[in-house]
Amino acid sequence: MPFTPPKESYNGKTFELTIGQGDKAVTVGGENVLAFHAFEGSVPREPAVAFEVQDMPPDDWPETVAEVFKNVSSGPVTWAKYCQDSLGAGIIALRLVSTHPDRGDASADQAAETVRKVLAAINVPLIVLGSNHAEKDAAVLVKVAEVLKGTNSLLGKAQESNYKTIVAAAMANDLKLIAMSELDINLSKQLNILIGQMGFDKEKLVTDPMSSALSYGLEYTYSVMERIKLAALAQNDATLQAPMLADVGMFVWKVKETQAAEADLPAWGSLRERGIEWEAVTATSFLIAGADILIMRHPEAIGAVKKFIADMEVK
């Protein structure tokens, strides 16, 4: 019996967005079908993975992942170079943790100096993230944006409570921007609209609908991502056509499953594999739901996710 495949075709497609410059630049987005659905439409490229680097030693990362970077994580420059040169990172995501009022309260100028040094040391595209303290991020990212001018980097994250200053800074310095809202398609849409009303080009935006970890809210992120993708494609809703970001590592490497010793919980199996698996499974779920860029920590988790992407054979 000949079978007629029930293909779906959509009117919309996600925006193509490039970060970085020259032959190391990375482009994401541009597909007119759901994630990896190359069999019924166009998926011009694979999703991208960024390696997370912090501006201070990772004293709250569990051993499994902290250990990988123990010889390089005393400073962001050596750390970033290690990711680029030894681990093959195609994008570096620098998180300015030390600017958080509870984590050292480094000044905006100090942060800008850190960013300047990291920029000088690497040639792959850079994502710069604040410490997730809305007020402080506004002050820090304005200074950081000046340093990033002309590099086509991705700056984040603008949230409902601080977007105005950050959007203005990204615009003035011609940067790409991450807009983050909290697990709700309407909030994502609304923030993107507000940012657009300031004159920011919607094709320079990345949406972060907020991540979560496997077993700690994953289903919320997963479904919000699927809904955003469907609205972007089926309803051709331009306010939801930005590529999506999943900031995975920071949610995964704080849950109990990535920390508890096997001796205490024998039913959970090897701690090392369990932690890496937790990050890889979380990340893969979000890719399936439609994420275009991942931020991750453990090189083996990243390696596994890349093998999964290759297995999809969209190229």
């Binding site: 079978f3 029930p6 077993s215 959970w268 199996g269 090897s270 890496i276 999964f308 297995d311 054979e313």
Partner: protein, 446 residues
């Protein structure tokens, strides 16, 4: 094939008697076409119409049981493509492969792993659901020996017998009669004989096709041989093929009510690289498999896959919740600590687990916050000082306690003053932020 409302309408009594609860026969027909009502709600429908409509109004993916007894699992019955539309119904079964070329010791080890795979998670008991017994040797005697070993050591665990030889199937299935096993391996060359064996042993027939055209062909033929229960494999093995075929199958079944593909899907995730295998399994769990077959069952991998399955199959409208109550952990006395949290299952099980770890007997008040976590509930106004005060007052717990002290989650430290205002005579203590700080915190007080 799917019938339209009008086609269904033609077969109804057309009396508009309203006994079905719909204003007219046409309205009933329209709802039936969308599967919002069931045919038996019309008492007057003719036998002939019943027969014709029965198939069209049956669930788009045939309900099928895997295994027997307490550990049996249901498959099929799904009605949507995306979990935000409506809850996914029957969580995908996870099976682990054992080859009949493995030594008895190796096979026994896998069986033991499966038997001890149960993990308690957020109040549910999760486990590997089936053994996939594979006739890689091509020798029927070897497969039978394996089936015998598995059915003796793990009589309650479901089996999927994988072979292309009807005789080998027959011998192996004897060990699983009446246990809703799957006989996997029916193809274009052996279909009729395999169908016969499946029927004889009341097993579900597993169709092994090479492509969707052939798959449709085989399921239709098997149906012609009198087989009702099937699980289907399009032959997809690479991730991209699995996504494509599983998506086409689910869409055909759910959106077009296309019967030749209206069966539970079996997805093969097996890889030498265990972590990559687990990620292919992630794809199977998220995208429409009813059975995912793995090569190995390491505990770290089980935990992650069970958790994902639980996440994907939770109700998107109603978070998992526990009942509002004051729960005793251990045997608390009048001086034991008294804590409060929300009724989101995840929150409750994490907190009660850590209290248990502390070995300090406690009372844990669980406030109905509509299944929201502590911070979400706080942000949504469901975990407020007045609600907490009212709950504590009405619970009458005061009489059981020597000191009126309540420990609140560290993340809502901001509530302590206002609770003290509303709960006269009570002392509010701020606990640690993360529950894993509870054992040290409780021990330090004891």
């Amino acid at each position: 094939m799917a019938l339209t409302g009008v086609e269904i309408f033609k077969m109804l009594p057309k009396t508009n008697c309203k006994k079905c609860g719909q204003p007219t026969c046409l309205a009933f027909a329209m709802k039936l076409a969308q599967r919002q009502v069931s045919l038996d709600q019309c008492p007057d429908v003719s036998e002939e119409a019943k027969q014709k409509l029965g198939e069209a109004s049956a669930p788009p993916i045939r309900p099928t049981v895997l295994g027997s007894g307490e550990l049996a699992v249901k498959m099929g019955e799904e009605t949507v493509l995306f979990r935000h539309e409506k809850k996914f119904v029957n969580p995908c079964a996870i099976a682990v492969k054992i080859s009949d070329t493995a030594s008895e010791a190796d096979a026994s080890k896998v069986i033991d792993d499966v038997l001890s795979s149960e993990i308690d998670r957020v109040g549910q008991k999760l486990r590997i659901n089936a053994l996939f017994l594979s006739n890689d040797s091509g020798d029927g005697a070897k497969l039978e020996a394996l089936a015998k070993l598995a059915s003796t050591k793990a009589p309650a665990v479901a089996a999927i017998i994988s072979t292309t030889s009807p005789d080998a199937a027959d011998a192996a299935l004897k060990h699983y009669s009446g246990k809703n096993a799957v006989l996997y391996g029916a193809n274009k060359d052996n279909l009729e004989a395999m169908a016969g064996k499946a029927k004889a042993h009341k097993a579900t027939l597993g169709i092994a096709a090479t492509g969707l055209d052939e798959l449709c062909d085989l399921t239709e033929k098997a149906k012609g041989f009198g087989v009702a229960d099937m699980v289907i494999d399009s032959g997809a093995r690479r991730a991209g093929e699995i996504l494509r075929d599983n998506t086409y199958i689910r869409r055909s079944a759910v959106k077009k009510n296309f019967k030749p593909l209206g069966y539970p899907v079996i997805t093969f995730a097996g890889r030498d690289d265990s972590m990559l295998e687990s990620l292919i399994a992630v794809l199977g769990i998220a995208k429409y498999a009813s059975i995912v077959v793995l090569n190995s069952a390491e505990r770290w991998k089980n935990l992650a896959l069970f958790s994902l399955r639980q996440n994907i199959y939770t109700d998107p409208q109603v978070p998992m919740q526990v009942q509002q109550n004051i729960y005793k952990i251990g045997e608390p006395g009048p001086k034991s600590p008294f804590l409060i949290t929300t009724n989101f299952s995840l929150t409750y099980f994490i907190v009660s687990g850590e209290v248990e770890n502390s070995k300090v007997p406690c009372r844990l008040a669980v406030l109905d916050s509509e299944g929201l976590s502590v911070l979400t509930a706080w942000a949504a106004g469901k975990f407020t000082a007045s609600k907490i005060a009212q709950f504590i007052k009405e619970s009458g717990i005061e009489t059981e306690l020597e000191t009126k002290e309540l420990i609140i989650p560290g993340y809502v430290a901001i509530l302590s003053g206002s609770i003290e205002d509303k709960l006269e005579g009570w002392k509010i203590t701020v606990g640690p932020r993360e529950a894993n700080g509870l054992p040290a915190f409780l021990k330090a007080r004891a």
